[in-house]
Symmetry: C2
Subunit: 140 residues, 2 copies
Amino acid sequence: MSISSRFAVGIHILSLIELNKGGVSSSEFIAGSVNTNPALIRKIMGMLKKAGLIKVRPGIAGAELAKELSEITLLDVYKAVNVVQDKELFSVHDNPNPDCPVGRNIQNAIYPLFSNAQLALEKSLGSVTLEEVVKDIVKK
Amino acid sequence: MSISSRFAVGIHILSLIELNKGGVSSSEFIAGSVNTNPALIRKIMGMLKKAGLIKVRPGIAGAELAKELSEITLLDVYKAVNVVQDKELFSVHDNPNPDCPVGRNIQNAIYPLFSNAQLALEKSLGSVTLEEVVKDIVKK
DNA sequence: AAGGTTGTAATCAAATTAATTACATGATTT
DNA sequence: AAATCATGTAATTAATTTGATTACAACCTT
C-alpha cells in the first residue's frame, strides 16, 4: 500500500505558490495545475495553513507562503498533510496470543525496530528543502 | 495510511518457527499464536517460501527455516510479503497539467527524493536480522 | 447588494485489508 | 486402498481509506 498522494500534492501546491508569486494562487488556479478538484486543494491548503506553512484567508483569493522555501523541508509537508499517523507507518496485528512466548512479546520486540525505520525515512525527508525542489523544476 | 500488518505477521511467523524448532509449526499452530486465520498464515507462508526464507511442502505439516535467522533481515521479510511495491511507497497524483511549468515537471522533481527516502527506510530494515528479534523475544 | 473565494461537511465509487469459507492437491496412517 | 490431515489457492465479505464531487455557509471586495 502507498502513502497518500496528499503529500505529493502538498509539495505541488507550495512549489506553485512560489513560482506564481506575481499572480494570484487561488484554489481553482492550483487545482488546474494539479488537475483535480478545488475543494480537495482547499482541504490540503487548510492543513498547510494549520502547520504554519502558508497564509490563506476566507474570502480573499490566493495563498502566500508563510516561510521561505529554504526553511520548509519535505518532512514539514509530510507532517502537515497527515499522510501517516505518528509512529504508525507500519501496522501491527493486534491481540497476538498472550499464552505464547512469541505472541506475548512480539509487539514490544518489533516496535522500536519499526520506529527506527520510520525515523530513517523522516530524516531523509527532513534533509531536503522545497527550495531545492523548485530549483529543479525551474531547471527542467 | 499504514503498511499492511503482513509484514509484522511475517516476522512473527519466522520467529515462531525458530522458537518452536522442537515441535511442528503448522499453519494452525502459528495462527493460534498470531491469533488469526490459518488460511491467512498459509498465504503469507507462501510468500515467505517463494522468497526462499522457509521450506514448506503440500500435505506435510510444519514449516522450517530455509536460512539461519542471522542471515535474514527485516528487509528480506518486508520484500517477501509485498507490502510495498518497488518504488511506490509514496504515491503521486497523476495527470498534472502539462501546460503548467510546475505540473509538467513536478513528478520528475519529486521522484528521486521519494526514492531516496524509501531507500533510507529499507536500509534501516536491512540492518536488523531476525536473530536479534528472537533474542529480544527470549529476553522478555 | 452582488459576485467571487475560502472553509468544511457530506456523499460516492474504487481500492485495499484482514477474516472467513471452501475445496483441490498432496502425504501419512491404519 | 481408504480415511485423515495439511498445504495451496481462490472467492467472498465487511471495514477502512482514498480521491472526486457537490453543496453551502462564512467572508471579503467592489
